[in-house]
């Protein structure tokens, strides 16, 4: 019983100790048997980089930071464990930077030609170069610093916003609102104009197309005419046309002479008509001025009255005659 207790307790203790040790070494990725190559880089400051942080080459995890220790000359040496199969890039440089927002840091081994275009980083690398087997290193600004700068910028923006708020009173707001409204109107007008002109442009384009089409048709007709002319000239039709044209011209000349004669006759008739009108005009002037018998007849009112009286008397006489014919007519046969 006692021996079995001893064995059991010993076995359990040994098992737990060995398993726990193995698990710890595995999680820590401890290099047992020196199967990894060592690389040392020097920095002026290592930020929040810690032992155990990842070492990355071209984005691939290649090892871990094994130790961080102070060195002479104000340097900090970072010793890294790398897989033996890993090959360092040409002219390697080690950059320490944050790998996430949660405080994780990593060491990135990169060729010098691939360094970020940052004066501070370039200066750090230049300063840490020339350390023999020790690689030059630089630290990139961590997110906390960037956040602090961003916070400062945000503060400045808030300050500016505050000042703008002071300057931007109710009146300014009204003016701005009015300006925006005017701008909106202007925009609407511009939109309308653009649309209208777009229509015009369409119409113009269509007209131009039509003109071009007409021009094409004209050109085609001209070509056709030219062809016909060509064929006509070749078949003697032109001569016939010219002869017809000269005949027509002679006819036109004859007609023209006839028209000219008619025109001369018309001119004589017009002269006679002018003389007639002149004479008529003088007669009418005399009539209007009351000269002569006819003038007096037209212009003397007494004559009208006398005539009217005469007519009245005549009407009375006719009436009397009708009433008493015997008074005026006496028929005697015997």
């Amino acid at each position: 019983m006692k021996r079995s207790n001893d064995f059991l307790v010993g076995a359990i203790v040994l098992l737990v100790v060995l398993t726990l040790t193995g698990a710890t070494l595995w999680v820590k990725q401890t290099d047992i048997g020196e199967r990894r190559s060592k690389v040392v880089a020097r920095f002026r400051d290592v930020g929040n980089a810690r032992v155990g942080n990842a070492v990355v080459i071209r984005g691939v995890r290649a090892g871990t930071i094994e130790a961080i220790e102070l060195a002479r000359g104000g340097w900090v040496h970072v010793r890294m464990n790398l897989d033996r199969s890993m090959q360092l890039p040409s002219s390697p440089v080690v950059l320490l930077n944050e790998s996430s927002l949660f405080g994780e840091w990593q060491a990135t081994i990169t060729p010098r030609s691939a360094l970020p275009h940052d004066e501070t980083v370039q200066a750090q690398v230049s300063e840490s170069s020339g350390g023999g087997e020790v690689l030059p290193g630089a630290i990139l600004p961590d997110i906390a610093k960037l956040t602090a700068v961003a916070g400062q910028i945000a503060g400045d923006v808030a300050n500016v916003a505050g000042r703008v708020e002071v300057a931007f009173d109710e009146r300014a707001a009204r003016e701005l609102r009015s300006s925006i409204r005017n701008f909106a109107d202007l925009s609407t007008t511009l939109n309308h104009t653009v649309r209208t002109h777009a229509g015009d442009l369409d119409t113009l384009s269509r007209g131009l197309q039509s003109a071009v089409k007409s021009l094409n048709q004209t050109a085609a007709s001209a070509a056709q005419i030219a062809g016909r002319v060509d064929s006509s000239s070749s078949s003697g039709e032109i001569r016939q046309i010219v002869d017809d044209m000269s005949h027509a011209a002679a006819e036109l000349r004859r007609t023209s002479s006839q028209v000219r004669a008619m025109s001369e006759q018309m001119s004589a008739t017009q002269s006679r008509l002018d003389a007639f009108l002149t004479n008529g005009d003088s007669v009418l002037v005399k009539l209007n001025s009351g000269q002569g018998s006819l003038g007096l007849l037209l212009n003397d009112p007494s004559l009208y009255h006398n005539s009217d009286s005469l007519l009245t008397q005549l009407r009375g006489l006719v009436t009397e005659v009708r009433t008493n014919p015997k008074k005026f007519v006496s028929v005697r046969i015997f």
Binding site: K2, N5, V9, V16, L20, G52, L101
Partner: protein, 281 residues
């Protein structure tokens, strides 16, 4: 027939009992005295136990027996708790990390929480119930049945024969049980993350390795050793001071569990303050 009005004034008189300042001071003094007496008794007891450690021939043959009882026999319950703690912790972590926090931090949280806090404390609390009560009841029974007096009569040092092997087994085997609980807790969290969460094995391991430090293990093991010391000491002292027959044994077992649980939490805070506060790992 009792008149109700004759009863009421007595009640009201009892409720109106005047608290005198002198009585408060007396109570405070009594509590302080008892506290100091307890500390003194514990110190004397510890000193006698340390003194008895020299008597290896007495406790040596019994050590592995108690180690088996305290450690090996407690492994199943310790591992059972660790398995479920790991599973629940990974699920809780994934539930909390939805959003901006990457899911591989589940591994970090499970590793840190299990190794530094939950495995030591939960295992110690469970073992306080199992081991502390067992020791108090066993020693209490021996005390009330005068077996301890008989041992003394036979020339055995009760501390060397009864207390030292139990305390040593607690100091040695608590870290063993807690170490196994740490591994199984993290492993169960790992398996739960792969099986129940949208998390790959590589991501979980990445999270574990991200902030892992050997200090985490060391801290948990040292804490668990101190818990083992405290649980076995309290169990022994309560058992050896038991009196009053079976009822006294029961009281001793109960008080051993209660005192052990309280002291485990106090020690936990003590280690956190002295070892974690202000230190950068």
């Amino acid at each position: 027939m009792t008149n109700a009005s004759s009863v009421l004034p007595e009640v009201s008189l009892g409720a109106r009992r005047v608290v005198r300042p002198g009585r408060v001071l007396t109570t405070m003094g009594r509590v302080t005295r008892r506290g100091l007496e307890g500390i003194g008794a514990l110190t004397r007891f510890t000193a006698r136990t340390l003194e008895a450690v020299r008597d290896v021939r007495t406790w040596g043959p019994l050590a592995t027996l108690h180690m088996r009882r305290v450690g090996v026999d407690s492994l199943p319950i310790g591992l059972f708790i660790a398995v479920f703690t790991g599973i629940v912790l990974s699920l809780l972590a994934s539930y909390s990390f939805t959003g901006a926090v990457p899911l591989y931090f589940v591994g970090t949280l499970v590793e840190k929480t299990i190794t530094m806090e939950l495995a030591p404390v939960l295992t110690a609390l469970v073992l306080a119930g199992r081991v502390g009560a067992n020791i108090a009841a066993e020693l209490g029974t021996m005390r009330v049945t005068e077996q301890i007096d008989a041992l003394e009569t036979l020339g055995y040092d009760p501390h060397a024969y009864l207390v030292v092997p139990r305390v040593l087994s607690g100091v040695v085997m608590f870290p063993v049980v807690v170490g196994a609980a740490m591994m199984l807790g993290v492993a169960s969290g790992w398996i739960a993350s792969i099986g129940l969460l949208d998390l790959s094995s590589a991501d979980f391991v990445k999270g574990v390795r991200l902030f892992f430090s050997a200090f985490d293990i060391r801290y948990g093991l040292v804490k668990s050793a101190s818990f083992g010391l405290m649980v076995t000491l309290i169990g022994s002292i309560r058992g050896l001071r038991a009196s009053g027959g079976a009822e006294g044994v029961g009281r001793a077992a109960t008080s051993a569990v209660v005192y052990s649980a309280v002291l485990i939490l106090l020690l936990d805070a003590f280690w956190a303050i002295t070892w974690l506060l202000g230190s950068e790992r």
